[in-house]
Subunit: 454 residues, 2 copies
Amino acid sequence: MANKPSIPKGTRDFGPEEMAKRNYIFDTIKHVYALYGFQQIETPAMETFHTLMGKYGEEGDKLLFKILNSGDYLKTISDEEILQRNILKLQTKLCEKGLRYDLTVPFARYVVMHREELHLPFKRYQIQPVWRADRPQKGRYREFYQCDADIIGSDSLLNEVELLQIIDTVFTKFGIRVQIKINNRKILTGIAEVIGEREKIVAITVAIDKLEKIGLSKVNEELRSVGISDEAIDKLQPIIKFDGSNEEKLDVIAGVLKDSEIGLEGVNELRFILSKLKLLNLQNETQIDLTLARGLNYYTGAIFEVKALDTQIGSITGGGRYDNLTGIFGMQGISGVGISFGADRIYDVLTTLDLYPKESVSGTQVLFINFGDKETAYCLPIISKVRKAGIRAEIYPDSVKMKKQMSYANAKGIKYVALAGETEMNVNKITLKNMISGEQTLVSSEELIKYILG
Amino acid sequence: MANKPSIPKGTRDFGPEEMAKRNYIFDTIKHVYALYGFQQIETPAMETFHTLMGKYGEEGDKLLFKILNSGDYLKTISDEEILQRNILKLQTKLCEKGLRYDLTVPFARYVVMHREELHLPFKRYQIQPVWRADRPQKGRYREFYQCDADIIGSDSLLNEVELLQIIDTVFTKFGIRVQIKINNRKILTGIAEVIGEREKIVAITVAIDKLEKIGLSKVNEELRSVGISDEAIDKLQPIIKFDGSNEEKLDVIAGVLKDSEIGLEGVNELRFILSKLKLLNLQNETQIDLTLARGLNYYTGAIFEVKALDTQIGSITGGGRYDNLTGIFGMQGISGVGISFGADRIYDVLTTLDLYPKESVSGTQVLFINFGDKETAYCLPIISKVRKAGIRAEIYPDSVKMKKQMSYANAKGIKYVALAGETEMNVNKITLKNMISGEQTLVSSEELIKYILG
């Protein structure tokens, strides 16, 4: 085999078992999204450069997969231009579209293009692959699925409450115990305001985050080393030594931020969200975490992050509130809030903790053994009936040695094997063998159905 | 809005209603594939040029979407090479991967790469988009889904029988009346053999296909005009005037092909398949059609095609048996048989005939009206309970005018609206309004669930 085939680096094939598990994840998330009134949309894999370029920063532009124009792609490029070898400039002439990099920008584009048909608030979910020309490494792929839900056109904090409920419901269904962390961009802004260090909020959260590991004095040292004044560090002390219930924490923050209007707004938002969650008895705990600083250049209100409790894997879901989703396309005033489940990491957590329900990965339920033409003719209508009852059934297509057929059933993890030879045909029955217990029973086709379903 | 966004030509956005309908189609097909023991796989959107190029003919190579290499894509190209502007040669240096053009070549690549893990026979299905840089026109897109199922590693004709059963089951579920047409490549080869015109089999089937439209003498005229001898046309007469039941047709063909070994083999294969179908009482008729000549450079045995009876739209499903799926990648001896449902056309047929079941397109079942903070606090735990019962429920996120909330319910096609104000809260109940009948009932949360589910 001289030309051994391969797939592009950073991409994956998903075989039957992986697909069954992935479908279990996607179906669970879809089901919950739908329970909350979210509607699915899909957008094309390819978007125009106009839609994609400049939306993800300079680094993002580089990581876009670009599609070579069809036909004579050099047509509009002069010899001089080519010989200059200006890679960035030339690519905008060689290509006019690229592969979707995330689901947010295509969603914004969708909203602008379909704004006449949309009835706000619009609750959409979208589960599709995205592509990034990142350097592949463990757990980072060049093609991976995102599972996003967003509500746009409503400023109500009930949306945040519902998204947290969705997170709780999904992970409860998965059987994954999680900690839901919540923060608010306005509180971070308030902190920066109060201590007069607008630029250093990320450095501050990074330092505070180390409290458990390195202790209070080292944290303060680090804060000093990034240029925070002693006075500001003093003001920060109650927040660094942050402990207690969410309510207690909110009181502490409100104290520190008593002179920051925006900071107190953030406190009130968190108070509202947490008070509504209290009514709902979620399975998983929601905890205020001021060091949660994801998407600071994007999120304007609540920020969410979810971590699995029983395995170390980083964030498995995140989200937050943003302003002006569609401003990049010239449509102002559309704000929203959204979350995104990390399907690949959830896959790994479910695998590590062995949490896939048996049914989710089970394929064919019964294999009919093929003893030859006459026996097949006897079995076919029975199999038809069995399938009509909703049972996944196969007949081995070739009349080969029993051993080979049995080994097929084993390889595919099929629990029941049905055998019908001369003896069974004479009494209009089938022998049903349980491949796990080895037990055999002579049954009618109706009994066979009841047996397998039961 | 200077920069009005758009999507690449030939691609589509799918909004909530279209997605619900498309999901209904895909879910139905997936469900039936699984009932027959097929397992899903997925392959990456991008494949290497080595996998893709030369697999779809010269025209196909042109229609591949090619991905520009990341980084300095001109690195390996000299000035002289560029200035030659040899588009085809250059693109293999500018790009090393392309988008999937169909699901068959990626499947063949998958089988070769995973042959150690695969247990043959392998029944796989795959539902994913493919991309072709075709000129877009009505009903032809640059991105569209294929829904393929194949069995490889078994020569048994039972596989053909099961695929026809799958076709029958799927269209019965859809409520689309279809005609299933079947032919066999070996019969066509036999005909060519018998009349000594191996090269003209396509011209012959095209001419015969016109019988109903232009009549026998014109068909014979056409055959003469493409260079078929009078003697050969004489031999073809019984096949041209082809009529009667499948059995009668098979007898006629067997007569004409009595001296062609391969032709008679084809007849026997059809006999076997049709005799087994007789045992299964399919809902739709399967008819022999010798003019069915799809995929002649690919199919080696049975050929299938499905047409809707109640609307004119061309083939909505097709398939057939092939030899040597993986030969292109150096792995010999893997043959198989497969079918592919045309999702876009099925979508159009279901729309034209208005056959979507109501449940398939229904989203949210009940909207809770938002009367303010106190009422929301009352409603939230009730909504939680309602969702736990599997009912898709929303609360309008903002406490705005009733009219606006009602109009949201109407726009989203929500059947029930739930109202809870002072009166309802005092008696621990909810007013449930049926938006179609206008009927209102005062109910407890348990009664509300029963009402909506029942």
